[in-house]
Symmetry: C2
Subunit: 107 residues, 2 copies
């Protein structure tokens, strides 16, 4: 298996009970992985102290919140959650795959 190349589809995992996470790559300064949601699943609003984060919606549709903004997002939306700003997924409206990056990486 390649050290540097991965297919999102081969890593993304779904869990009927709750939103699921999978790792893609992790370095000293950056983590990338997937967040996957079945319809109706959510991710509680939370904060990463001192870490910048983005989501890219790869497929599906969801309602997301960052700070005081809430938007319905779909494939091709990039969502920016800067350090210390509360963010989360209010509800997935379809089966949804997101690429997520966090810098620095979670411990």
């Amino acid at each position: 298996m390649s050290q540097f190349f991965k297919q999102i589809d081969q890593v993304a995992e779904f869990d009927a009970d709750k939103a699921a996470k999978a790792d893609l790559f992790k370095g000293a300064r950056l983590f990338v992985g997937t967040n996957c949601f079945e319809p109706g699943q959510s991710q509680k609003t939370h904060v990463h102290a001192g870490a910048d984060k983005f989501y890219l919606i790869v497929s599906g549709r969801a309602r997301m919140t960052v700070g005081t903004e809430t938007e319905e997002v779909g494939a091709g939306t990039v969502v920016w959650a800067p350090a210390d700003v509360p963010h989360g997924v209010a509800e997935a409206l379809e089966r949804t795959v997101m690429l997520v990056g966090i810098a620095p990486p979670p411990r």
Copy 2:
């Protein structure tokens, strides 16, 4: 315009003369933007000293190199270019849009 939500399609830019870059978001610890290629365009092999980077191929097809690995990539491939490892785009085989993240951000 939203402070936290952007559509890749509305930011991505192409240039007939060379590969084109556009910014999406930049924080103290993370930068995300786009790299866009017309067929035949490339990005010279280069290194980011002390910065981890990834590419996600959003659409199109290209031949990419990281370290000693070269692969043909398409939509859904995530390419990991850890700090100090040479990487580049040997050639875009189709019109190609990539999301790019770098941590810490370029100056």
